[in-house]
């Protein structure tokens, strides 16, 4: 871990905008030094607002406090917080070259010219953009801009790296490649990072812990594994993947769910339930079946079986008991989750 990595603590941070919109309900959050946290949630749930509060671009409502390493930063301006920030639209300075963009923060910090030069070369090499150093910003592709934006944010050796949907503006294949590059980079640097996205696969790939948000609240905090396999409520279960309602387990106190990939297709006599295939989506590595078991909601099943499924066929299915997701029905409202 990076020895300069900073821990973050938010207590009671809420945000009400001037027009009365309450974008964030009072929330607490602790980020360990060196950890990568992903804020995940649907559009408008307050991810950007939370990130901007941590950055110092927005003030929290009265009563909220922000600590970097035990130090109260609540009223410290953004330019004094020593953070690195990557914006969705990159926000590169069009009046400067790539190299000038990268060293901007170093010049502001009045580093010696040799030190600036050394850091610039290091950044260019790390992001593999040596050849672009003297280009103007409008001569770069989206992916290249993203690298420059990252290099610029990291060059100042920030205590905290904040990224707001940095990959959303890129096309799918580039997004996948940059995602794994960023993941490696964050591991290597060991900087405390907070990454905002509404893409669950991005969150899974990058996070040490995922913070799932909904309507201005934190719904669940946990490792990607926990979030996926032990979701706190139906909203989380649905947001990070697909879930089915079990068609023949009824319990007033529990909701029983399972994921499409946890279904085994079995002999007619050995199944827990059976259903008729409504549609088959062949994806190469697997097939996604949509089934009708007599309820309003269809059931989705992912199977890797090499069998030619046809619409109209009836199949029997079984889900192992430990693969069932059991949720207390009282937990299914918009839950208030206190961080432990």
């Amino acid at each position: 871990m990076n020895p300069t990595a900073t821990s973050i603590k938010l207590t009671n941070c809420a945000k009400t905008f001037a027009d009365g919109t309450q974008a964030l309900k009072p929330l607490n959050l602790t980020v360990k030094a060196g950890e990568t946290i992903v804020l995940l949630g649907p559009s408008g749930c307050g991810k950007t607002t939370l990130l901007r509060i941590i950055a110092g671009l927005e003030a929290t409502d009265q009563g909220g406090e922000i600590y970097f390493n035990q130090q109260n930063m609540t009223s410290i301006a953004i330019e004094k917080r020593n953070i690195g920030m990557v914006f969705q639209s990159y926000a590169l300075f069009p009046n400067m070259s790539v190299a000038q963009n990268i060293v901007y923060g170093l010049k502001i910090r009045k580093l010696k010219p040799q030190a600036i030069k050394r850091r610039l070369d290091e950044m260019l090499e790390m992001m593999q953009i040596e050849a672009l150093a003297h280009r103007r910003i409008d001569q770069l592709s989206g992916g290249q801009r993203q690298r420059v934006a990252l290099a610029r944010a990291i060059a100042v050796r920030p205590n905290l790296l904040l990224l707001d949907e940095p990959l959303t503006a890129l096309d799918a294949s580039l997004r996948d490649r940059l995602r794994s590059e960023i993941s490696e980079l964050l591991q290597k640097l060991g900087i405390t990072s907070i990454y905002v996205t509404h893409d669950q696969s991005e969150a899974m790939a990058l996070a040490d812990r995922i913070v799932v948000m909904d309507k201005g609240r934190i719904v669940q905090i946990g490792s990607p594994y926990d979030i996926y396999h032990r979701p706190k409520n139906e909203f989380v279960a649905n947001f990070v993947g697909n879930v089915n309602h079990h068609p023949n387990v009824f319990d007033a106190n529990y909701l029983t769910l399972f994921r499409p990939e946890d279904v085994e297709i079995v002999e007619p006599t050995k199944g827990d339930f059976e259903a008729k295939i409504i549609s088959v989506l062949f994806l190469g590595d697997k097939s996604r079946l949509t089934l009708d078991c007599g309820f309003k909601k269809s059931i989705y099943v992912d199977t890797t079986l090499r069998q030619n499924f046809k619409t109209g066929m009836k199949i029997s299915m079984h889900v192992e008991a430990e693969r069932l997701i059991k949720l207390k029905t009282t937990d299914n409202g918009p839950a208030t989750v206190k961080e432990s």
Binding site: S89, L92, N95, A153
Partner: protein, 261 residues
């Protein structure tokens, strides 16, 4: 075939219009260097009239340049920060203030001049100084500077640029000088050319505000048209052209360049 005809007709029409506009200008310019306008150019070419204009009116030329430069300085110092603040705010108040500052575009120069005289004419020293004209020019040109800078600022996402500069540690003034100003440069330059051109050519306002001691070039021109030989007036016009045309060309070039980007 029809296309060809249409094109030719349009070309001829355009040339006619251009000729209609440009011939008097050329004649007037020639008159300024002709011995005797009524005898025509065959009476000989001379710089005599230009010399005479210089003797009589060089003061007005200096004063016009002086006022234009101060007017430029004032509109830069007031207009650029004002545009920045207005671009940053998007409340009702900001739009209202913008409307107020831009109002002089819609008000006739004569009315602005009258208002100035009624309100401040009593301060004799001020009334008789060229500062009085300067104030009128600033009122009249400020909207152009403001509009021009506002337009670039709202076409770049300067708000986000500023936030990212702040995240890199830049204080307000560092951001203003390293990010805002350089990125607003094209707008500031266009505004500056406009201000200088308008100030040098302004007549309505200035005619009302001037005193015999404080004549600008256009006021002097009007004076010479009324009381001097045609050749002198034309030579004077020629000088005015020489001053104003480079500015107009620069403005045209600049707007072409910014349109391309």
């Amino acid at each position: 075939m029809r296309h060809k005809w249409l094109f030719r007709a349009q070309l001829i029409f355009t040339l006619l219009v251009c000729g209609f506009l440009i011939v008097p200008v050329i004649l007037s310019a020639l008159a300024g260097i002709t011995q005797n306008f009524f005898l025509g150019i065959k009476s000989g070419v001379t710089l005599h009239w230009l010399g005479e204009v210089w003797q009589l009116y060089s003061g007005t030329i200096y004063l016009s340049l002086l006022i234009a430069i101060w007017c430029l300085i004032a509109t830069l110092v007031i207009g650029v920060p004002a545009a920045y603040v207005l671009a940053k705010q998007n409340g009702k108040l900001a739009r209202f203030i913008e409307e107020i500052i831009v109002l002089p575009i819609a008000i006739p120069g004569l009315a602005i001049a009258l208002a100035l005289i009624i309100n401040y004419g009593g301060f004799r020293d001020f009334r008789t100084s060229w500062g009085f004209i300067l104030v009128g020019h600033i009122l009249y040109t400020l909207p152009f500077m403001l509009r021009s800078v506002l337009a670039v600022l709202s076409s770049t996402n300067f708000h986000e640029l500023e936030e990212s500069a702040a995240s890199l540690g830049a204080s307000f003034w560092q951001r203003f000088f390293t990010i805002i100003l350089p990125n607003a440069k094209s707008g500031i330059l266009a505004g500056a050319l406009m201000v200088v051109t308008l100030s040098i050519g302004e007549f309505n306002l200035t005619w009302m505000l001037h005193t015999p001691e404080t004549k600008t070039l256009p006021v002097g021109l009007a004076d010479s048209y009324a009381s001097m030989r045609l050749e002198v007036a034309s030579a004077y016009t020629l000088i005015f052209f020489v001053m104003i045309i480079p500015l107009l060309i620069a403005m045209q070039k600049l707007s072409q360049k910014t349109n391309k980007v």
